[in-house]
Every structure is written in C-alpha cells, then in structure tokens.
Amino acid sequence: MNPFVFHVPTKIAFAEGAASSTADIVKELAGSRALIVTDKPLMNTGIVEQILHGFDDMHYVVFDEVPPDSDVDCVNQAAEVARAEECDCIVAIGGGSVMDTAKVVNICLTLGGELLEYQGLNNIAEQLLPLVAVPTTAGTGSEVSMVAMVKDRAEGKKLLFGSRYLAPSVAVLDPLLTVSLPPKLTAATGLDALTHAVESYTAVISNSVFTDSLCIDSTKMIFEYLRAATKNGGDIEARSQMLVASTMAGVAFTNSGVGVVHALAHSVGAKFGTHHGIANCIFLPHGMQFNMDAVVARYAKLSRLVGMSNSSNDSAAATELVTAIEKLCNDCGLPRRLRDAGVPELKTADIEELAFLTGSDPAIMFNPKECSPEDIKGLYERAY
C-alpha cells in the first residue's frame, strides 16, 4: 500500500433546509460580524435573503459582486468591505467561483500583506478566520477542498492557492438550494463531480483507501441520480444524492489530486471560457482512453463496483465504464465535442498554446501516466 495522508478539515452538515441554520453555525464558530460572499444572480433568486433572516441579530455585510470566473480585483474589493466592517468570519453562498473567492478573501483578511505572497502550495501555515461554505451547485467540491483559484486579469494568469487551512470550517449542504439550477448547469456540474471521482480514483500515486471509498460511492450515486436531477430539478432525493456525491468527490480529490482531464479543462477554460463541467464532460472519455493502458485494472474495478459491468475481462469492463459515461453525458444533453461547446476551430498555434498550458497545470502531476506535449495535442485534436 502507498503511504498516504488524508485530511477532512471541514465539518459537513447535510439536511433539507440546513441553510436556514447558517447563522447558528457562524455563532458556534464565535463569529459576530459576518461577510456574506455571493453573486448577483443568486441574490435575485431570493435564496440568499432566506439565509440572511437568521443573521438578523448579528452584524453582517453582503458582498454580491462575484463574477462567474472570479479574479483578484473582486477579492480585493470584498476584502476591503470586510475590513471596513471589521468582519471576523465569512459565509460563502454560491458555486465554485463564490467559494474560491471567499477562501482567498479569508487569506487577505486574516493574514494581510500582499496576496501574491500566499500564492502557491502549503504556503499558509496558520489558522484562518472561520469560513462557512453553502454550495448552491453540486459539482465543484470547493466547499471541502483545500485549494482556491482566482484570475489575475492584469497578468492574464490564474493564481493557485493550496493549503489545508484554506478548507472551509463548515460546509452546509442544503439540497433545496440547488432545485432552481437549470438542467444544463445541473448536468455540467454533475459531470465535474464525476470527473473528480474518476480522476481521484486513478491518481494512483497519491490515492488511498479513504479516497477510493469516497470515489466509488460518489460515482455510483452520480450514475444513479444525475439523470433524474437534470430531468426534474424538483426531485429532492436526486438533488440530495448529487449534492452529497459532489462533496464526497470533493473530499477525495482534495486529498489525492485529479489528472489530465482537469488539466485539459482548465486550459480550454482559460483560453476560450468553456464551462469547467462541460469541458470535463468532453475530455473525460478521451482522458480515460489515454490512461487506459496504465490503469485499466482500476477502471475495470470501478466499473464493476458501480454496476456498469460484470465482465471479468479488465479491458471490456473498463471500456464499459467509458461507454456508460458517454451515455450519461448524452442522456443529460451535454455536448461531446469542443466544437459543439463553442470552441472555435483550433489552429496549430492554439493547440501549441493549449498543450503548453495543459503541460504546466499542476493537476497533470497526479495523472497516472506521463503526458508528452504530443499526447496532449492528440487529446485536443480528438476532443475537437
């Protein structure tokens, strides 16, 4: 067995209506002046307002300017608001961009100084202020992850922050908050969660029996409930299963890493703005085919454990898993090629640039098989 470490710094609370107790959770964490980080579309749904009722007897300030792909300017604005209001805790209500923004704001608020000084891995060595994450999508896993990414638009770069102290103190999982998520976003974020589970399961240099068990169960739950959640947003059981599966996959990947599929998705997202979940959906079958010879036995085991195959032949069982994922994407109405996801025709220079970005994405370190620039270019060509 490989050596491993396994952290779950985040307390996870799940219940229908759990979000209404967010203020109580903040008080348990000794928070008295809360910065609420969210976005405008969510404010317009009324979801945030319902949660804020619980904060009536404490001081809070709402920052709702988080864009879909958050950046350093947004972080600095939110941190300024929090400092002016002397906030001592943060509540993030939203998807991955909101939660990542809140994590980076927490660095600014707790540690001060220059944000760039904290960019990197294991570079934060002390406890940050309490952060409560209330996800409104089921996919990113940011509510439990120990990483955050925001854009530095001035430099045209993504900044990566990774430390166990970045993980939220509490994740409040309330499926009622996800019922208004449109079908396409439900499906895309669900595929993000599935990609976390599959890549984490095959991150064979850093996974463990703990991450494996989370990957297996979350994969099974996603296969069983993503179609239903996509077809009928009001199906609370499907929404609940997806929300929990996403968090389980989040715990898994934040401990073991992901792989080439995420590296490809990050790169195409950075260059063309392709939605992360949709990019993962497109690249996942290609990434699995690429890794097949290195981890065929792992894919086969996962395929059998989640009920996608009963073949004793590893190659057949692994292929059945890839086919099942492709069918899931089709059933959920997700695009299967980059060209169908709004990516313009890839010229040689584009592929060169994408290959460079992919090859230098930290996610690729955890891939079970080394990827040469030529391998990566081939993956882009096949996915286009």
Binding site: G120, L121, N122, S206, P362, M365
Partner: protein, 135 residues
C-alpha cells in the same frame, strides 16, 4: 540522521549539481526558456540555492542569501531534496503531505520537473565526489 553534515556541504553539492545541469545542452536550454528564478530554501541543515534563468542566456547559480527576488520559492528539508535528486521522492505526494512548500506561480516550476529528470543520473556522482573531497 540528516544526510548533509552542514550548510557548506549542502550548498556545495547543490551548487555543483546545478552547474552541471547548466552545462547540459538539453536541460539548460529548456530551463532558460522558462526564464524563471527559483530559490530552494533548505532546513536541517539550513541552506539556500538560487537558480536564475531570467536572462534566457545563462543559468546563474548562487548560494546563501541573495538580493535577487525569486519568482518561485521551494522550501523543504535538505533530506527531502537529497531523496528528490536520487529520484526517490513522489512529488505529488510530497506536496499533498506538506513536505514541500512552494510559493509563487508553482505551475511554471512544476512543469520543469520532467526537464530536470536526467539530473537524477548526475546527482550520485556529484555527491560521491564531494563526500570524497570532504573525507
């Protein structure tokens, strides 16, 4: 017991290793293309080695405290560095388990890991030469 007896021994070995990497056309060319300045900060024993590829012409290696501001800083125990150059460190695991700290745009530095792999063959020779001289 730690592998390097003291700061001088650690820095001499790392200085010589990087000098040899700089003389290898394949490795040096790719490192120079990155234009990175990477500083390795070691503990047990303390040591600091700065590898400056910023001019794209020549890899400049310096030891001890430097005025130059690194783009990426990597901090670890000297024994972790020794094991790394012997090819014994699982870098993703070392990062996940907190054995390596990286500050700055780490993706750029991590992308160079495959580039410096040929130095795993050079390192044992550098170490044995230094140990002989010091013996």
């Amino acid at each position: 017991m730690q592998f390097f007896a003291n700061t001088d021994e650690l820095q001499e070995v790392m200085n010589e290793l990087w000098a040899r990497i700089g003389r290898d056309p394949d490795m040096s060319q790719k490192l120079l293309q990155s234009k990175l300045i990477v500083q390795f900060q070691y503990r047990e024993p303390e040591g600091r080695v700065t590898v400056d590829c910023s001019d794209g012409q020549e890899i400049k290696v310096s030891v001890g405290k430097q005025q130059i501001k690194p783009i990426v800083e990597m901090a670890m125990k000297a024994d972790v560095a020794h094991d790394f150059w012997l090819g014994k460190v699982n870098v993703p695991f070392a990062i996940v388990s907190g054995k390596i700290m990286a500050r700055g745009p780490v993706a750029k530095a991590l992308a160079l890991l495959p580039v410096i792999k040929p130095a795993f063959d050079i390192y044992p020779n550098v170490v044995s030469q230094h140990k002989k001289v010091l013996a």
